[in-house]
């Protein structure tokens, strides 16, 4: 799900980069304040080594039948263990390293990938656990949501960029994403359980569970946002004309690629921000 350079149009990646930069600043601030497990000094080596763990964990293959296998992506697992802000920082570090050292994801679009996987993905992966506690079902939901939200964002950003994926390719992609999401959920549940047995001291205290109606509301909002994004990607007719303005098609005036095509991403991002604010409010008032 790492978007390489060259896939997205300038307005789209500029918008998301512009969100991610201040967001990271704020998250650093939050993570410093939260430091849930250990005093500050231990925090940086812990987070760094956890980043290395995420890389290494992707080498352990989980068989899913028919000879196929998948691996942990780790966003929601980290969020459960380290808390959301610290997990976002670790995932950001991982994404930066993947972009520069592994050619996995682009450099100009690094803010987009950070937004999709480190910010939105981790937030979505943490929400169910925050609201319903650390039993198997919310942990599974968290793992699955973290993948689905990132995937829906990628499809949406592509369609905003004029790369319309419709029909059979969209269905194929959706099925693959759904399988990945279920697998991530299952691995996260199994991993949390096994870690709880093997090194219980590394799991934080159970977060206080909030009122179920709020949990349902926030989860519903999340599902709506994800589903809406999916539908927006599936029926992008209104967005097709953007392709003409954007880098992927011939455009005589280079600068116009910078100036056109802003309204759609701006509107979409505002919508996402509203939904996220609602979710946070739902989660906060315990």
């Amino acid at each position: 799900m790492h978007i390489p350079d060259g896939f997205l149009s300038p307005p789209v990646w500029l918008s998301f980069d512009a969100i991610s930069v201040p967001a990271i600043g704020w998250i650093v601030h939050r993570a410093k304040k939260a430091a849930p497990l250990t005093p500050d000094a231990a925090h940086i080596p812990l987070l760094g080594v956890m980043g290395a763990f995420v890389f290494a964990a992707q080498m352990i293959n989980f068989p899913v039948g028919l000879g196929a296998s998948g691996h942990l992506l780790g966003g929601s697992l980290l969020a459960i263990i380290l808390g959301p802000a610290a997990a976002m920082l670790v995932m950001t570090a991982v994404i930066v390293l993947q972009a520069l050292l592994f050619q996995d994801g682009g450099v100009l679009v690094v803010g987009v990938n950070i937004f999709n996987m480190a910010i939105a993905g981790v937030a979505a992966g943490y929400l169910p656990v925050r609201l319903m506690g650390r039993s198997a079902f919310p942990v599974f939901l968290g793992g699955a949501f973290s993948v689905l939200v990132s995937a829906a964002l990628v499809l949406w950003q592509l369609s905003l960029s004029g790369v319309a994926i419709t029909g059979r390719p969209l269905w194929t992609a959706s099925v693959l994403f759904a399988i990945t999401a279920v697998l991530e959920g299952l691995i996260t549940v199994a991993a949390i359980r096994a870690i709880g047995r093997l090194s219980p001291h590394s799991l934080p205290d159970q977060p206080q569970v909030s009122f179920p109606a709020r949990a349902a509301f926030a989860t519903l909002a999340l599902l709506l946002a994800t589903g809406g994004t999916w539908i927006a990607s599936a029926a992008p007719d209104g967005l097709q004309h953007l392709a003409a303005n954007i880098g992927l098609e011939a455009n005589p005036v280079w600068t116009s690629a910078l100036l056109d095509g802003w309204p759609a991403p701006a509107a979409g991002i505002t919508g996402l921000a509203c939904v996220y604010a609602l979710c946070t409010l739902g989660g906060k008032r315990r």
């Binding site: 763990f53 352990i60 691995i187 870690i195 093997l198």
Partner: protein, 195 residues
């Protein structure tokens, strides 16, 4: 391992290697921006510049070209989707843009060691906490990845992972990482680390 190779490349010496990391980072961003904004196949004009720079940095040309192609399978998938929706020039543009961008980023990483580019980011006010996490992640990446590889190799020798066994391996890997983080922290404190 492949990434070790990149680390070795970045420590060679040439005019490009010894240039200031900030300058190189700005140039990289300019090149990527040009590729992103230029329409059609115009980004191809960047190709000779990149090739010349690879020559000047005395890096193995073929190895770099092949490694940058890591991006192509993913791009090709999307290009096919675009092709089927009837936009064959769009598909070609996508391939050209993503490949050239990957090559440019690779060239930067192969001529700039990690301490140099993290220092450049630091001087641009990227939060110190994030930089420190990136550095520690990079430092222990190979150590922990080697443990993971040993575990997978052992599992293959026993006939491959089943789901539950893979979970166990993951938990062991996690517990070991956690212990390592604790000892790293103690070692840092012993050497006078101030957070």
């Amino acid at each position: 391992m492949r990434h070790l190779l990149l680390d070795q490349w970045s420590h060679r010496s040439s005019t490009i290697h010894s240039a200031d990391a900030r300058t190189k980072l700005v140039l990289l961003l300019l090149v990527l921006l040009t590729i992103s904004l230029a329409p059609g196949s115009i980004p191809l004009v960047i190709a000779p510049i990149l090739l010349a720079t690879i020559q000047v940095s005395r890096l193995p040309l073929n190895a770099l070209l092949i490694r940058a192609a890591l991006v192509l399978p993913f791009s090709a998938l999307l290009a096919v989707a675009i092709w089927f929706s009837g936009d064959s020039s769009g598909a070609a543009t996508l391939l050209i843009k993503s490949y050239l961008s990957a090559l440019a980023a690779l060239l930067f990483a192969a001529t700039t060691p990690l301490p140099a580019w993290t220092a450049a980011l630091r001087s641009w006010h990227v939060p110190a906490t994030l930089i420190a996490i990136i550095q520690v992640t990079y430092r222990y990446l190979f150590v922990i990845a080697e443990e993971a590889q040993t575990m997978s190799a052992a599992a293959r020798a026993r006939g491959g992972f089943r789901f539950s066994a893979a979970t166990g391996a993951l938990a062991v890997l996690f517990a070991r990482s956690w212990q390592r983080a604790e000892s790293v922290h103690r070692a840092m404190l012993a050497r006078g680390y101030q957070p």
